[in-house]
């Protein structure tokens, strides 16, 4: 076994984001390219089953990872590739997990819906809608009990706000005044259904009123805006001022899952959102600020392409999960 490359360590990858806007752009491109590659792998028949990708929602994942520390805790959903990569899991570990290979972050036993790495505070991503919210409250309870300044974040979609566990979790966090952040990626659809057909309030932050909880709505395509919003919530949590509900208005360019062609979308809606692509918006901003040139953006883009090619090759070269692994972690020792 070779020693892990320190620069490529998940914790190191995480810390790069907080200090450097250009690395945030790189990571957003990485997320987009990895998810595009996952779709290619399915199209080529190299993976069975299903996957849920998040193209269009990258800004939220990057802002979350930039605003929090590896010692904080994140409970995310089955649409979790972006958050996992942003928090630091390496592309070959995500691709390998989707492919069911040993290099995967779960050794190929979990799959696309179950990504995890304790070193960066990512609990196994939750495949049952709403399940992660009360669990995040429990992680926040741990920080409060131990009187440390950790923060627990629950990431979920608008659809999850109709599950009982979501409401029970928010209420608990409020009455116990816990260092929790409830980060809603409102992408306008719960599975195949437009939000207004399933959800009594289409502005999710209104839910916070019922729990007397701080709440902020933010443009989910603007990474700096989401970052500033999450930073305020993190400050509240770390200083003992209690939980926050954040609603990032965003959009997934693809269907709910691999088999969903998203024919339910009104004509022109996708194009409107594509015109405000979070990666392009951020790249343009960095160019306008003089932090990058147009050529610099293209160089980064090409470099990320090359890195993901290598990551995909590495993942494909890894052996499938082994039979003894199936029996290895059913019960703790």
């Amino acid at each position: 076994m070779s020693q892990p490359d320190a620069k490529n360590d998940p914790v190191q990858r995480r810390l790069e984001l907080s200090s450097n806007p250009v690395s945030r752009l790189e990571r957003m491109m990485e997320i987009r390219l990895v998810e595009d590659r996952i779709q290619d792998l399915f199209a080529q028949g190299l993976v069975s089953g299903t996957t849920h990708t998040s193209q269009g929602q990258e800004a939220v994942a990057i802002a979350l990872a930039s605003a929090t520390r590896p010692t904080d805790v994140v409970c995310c959903t089955y649409r979790g590739h972006g958050v996992a990569l942003a928090l630091g899991i390496k592309p070959e570990s995500v691709l390998g997990e989707v492919l069911g290979r040993q290099i995967g972050c779960m050794g190929g036993l979990g799959g696309s819906m179950h990504l995890s790495d304790p070193d960066i505070g990512l609990l196994p991503t939750f495949a049952i809608v709403g399940a992660g919210t009360p669990v995040a409250v429990g992680a926040a309870l741990q920080f409060a009990t131990n009187q440390t300044d950790g923060v627990a974040v629950s990431v979920f979609g608008d659809g999850a706000t109709n599950i009982g566990g979501f409401h029970e979790g928010l209420n608990l966090a409020a009455v116990w005044n816990l260092p929790a952040i409830f980060l809603c990626e409102n992408n306008l659809y719960g599975e195949y259904s437009p939000i207004a057909t399933t959800t009594a309030v289409t502005d999710i932050t209104k839910r916070a009123l019922a729990y007397d909880m701080a709440a902020e709505t933010v443009d989910g395509q603007d990474v700096d805006a989401v970052l500033a919003t999450i930073e305020r919530a993190v400050d509240r949590a770390r200083s003992g001022a209690g939980p926050t509900l954040i609603e990032a208005k965003t959009y997934r360019y693809v269907g709910h899952s691999r088999s969903d062609k998203a024919t339910y979308r009104p004509e022109g809606e996708l194009e409107q959102w594509l015109a405000r692509d979070p990666i392009e918006l951020f790249a343009a901003k960095l160019v306008a600020n003089g932090e990058l040139t147009e050529e610099g953006v293209q160089t980064i883009r090409q470099h990320q392409h090359d890195l993901i090619d290598v990551a995909a090759q590495t993942a494909l070269a890894s052996p499938p999960g082994s039979i003894p692994q199936m029996f290895a972690h059913v019960l703790a020792p």
Binding site: G100, G108, G111, M113, G159, G164, G190, S193, M326
Partner: protein, 330 residues
């Protein structure tokens, strides 16, 4: 199979205006597994509704609607999602008739996709009959293809009790001839012999029906392959009669070894037909681990026809139950 399920629901909706359908994405999107194609167009939005992702809410609503005069047919997209709403199933729906001294009935159906083989990972690949087994007041059936899905679904909708129908999701696209109509309704609690044989009764359910049939086709032994079809109630007479003829019982289960549905059958057969058995009852199951994700491991997890063939041959040859493949890892 998905077309047969749709047709069964439509046939009952035609005949009985009290039958309504709801679940996540069952109306406009016509079902995540295409088990309600055309129902919204045919029966309209009063009778076919999409729900939020709110299993507790809509299964509870089914209980109330059923107790007060409707006959809801609900869909739980993946059986695991029922965990969110378990109270409404086993503590409310199952007990309302009893708690009202028989004055309320709860004629509702919960359809749920189950099973492994599609690479959905351990939170979307279980069969979970065991969650409901042994709950008085519930009925429980498992489809094994288009024909049984049609017959069981119609029977479930007509039943005056809460009925859970489990549908192996790997079979939704499988084709089988179905003769729609009253004659194809399958009485809940009846098993079916799909292949006659002299040496051994191979009892199967859901996705293992095709495993048992395939095993018996190429085996050196003569297997009587039976589709149990219902678990609550289950067809004790058909199973015992078959075991009396063959002298051997092998139960093929998709679930893990501990607590699988076959334990119930094995125990009963041992008690009632001990002297007819020429060897111990053999349960062929998955190992006691979560369903693994990678395709090769998931296929290994499930009993394969080849494995069933070998295990049965070993049982018949030695008259003792062979060790499972996973014994060395357990």
């Amino acid at each position: 199979m998905n077309q047969a399920i749709t047709r069964a629901i439509a046939d009952e909706m035609e005949q009985d205006p009290r039958v309504i359908v709801f679940g996540e994405d069952v109306a406009v999107a016509e079902g995540p597994f295409k088990t309600s194609e055309g129902l919204l167009a045919t029966f309209g939005p009063l009778r076919v509704r999409d729900t939020p992702i709110s299993e507790t809410g809509f299964l509870g609503a089914a209980v109330g609607a059923a107790m007060t005069g409707l006959r809801p047919v609900t869909e739980i997209m993946f059986i695991e999602f029922m965990g969110v709403a378990f109270d409404q199933v086993v503590t409310e729906a199952a007990l309302m008739h009893y708690l009202s001294g028989g004055r309320f009935e709860v004629p509702m159906v919960i359809r749920a996709s189950v099973g492994s083989g599609l690479g959905f990972g351990c939170q979307h690949s279980q069969t979970l009959e065991r969650w409901m087994l042994g709950t008085p007041g519930l009925k429980l059936a498992v489809a094994s293809g288009a024909r049984s899905a049609y017959g069981l679904t119609r029977a479930a909708i007509r039943d005056n009790n809460p009925v859970v129908i489990l549908e192996p999701r790997s079979l939704y696209g499988e084709r089988e001839d179905v003769d729609p109509g009253e004659q194809s309704i399958i009485e809940l609690g009846t098993a079916e012999i799909l292949r006659e044989g002299a040496d051994v009764t191979v009892l199967t359910l859901g996705q293992t029906v095709r495993v048992g049939l395939e095993a018996a086709e190429s085996a050196s032994w003569s297997g009587e392959v039976m589709d149990l079809r219902s678990l609550m109630p289950w067809d004790k007479k058909a199973v015992i009669d078959s075991v009396r003829r063959t002298g051997h019982l092998v139960i093929v289960e998709e679930n893990q070894y501990t607590g699988g549905w076959g334990t119930e059958i094995a125990s009963h057969v041992m008690a009632k037909a001990f002297s007819d058995l020429q060897a111990p009852v053999l349960r062929i199951t998955a190992p006691d681990v979560p369903v693994p994700y990678g395709l090769a491991l998931e296929q290994r997890f499930l009993p394969s026809p080849e494995y069933v063939t070998e295990q049965v041959a070993a049982l018949l040859a030695t008259k003792t139950a062979p060790e499972p493949w996973w014994e060395e890892f357990a």
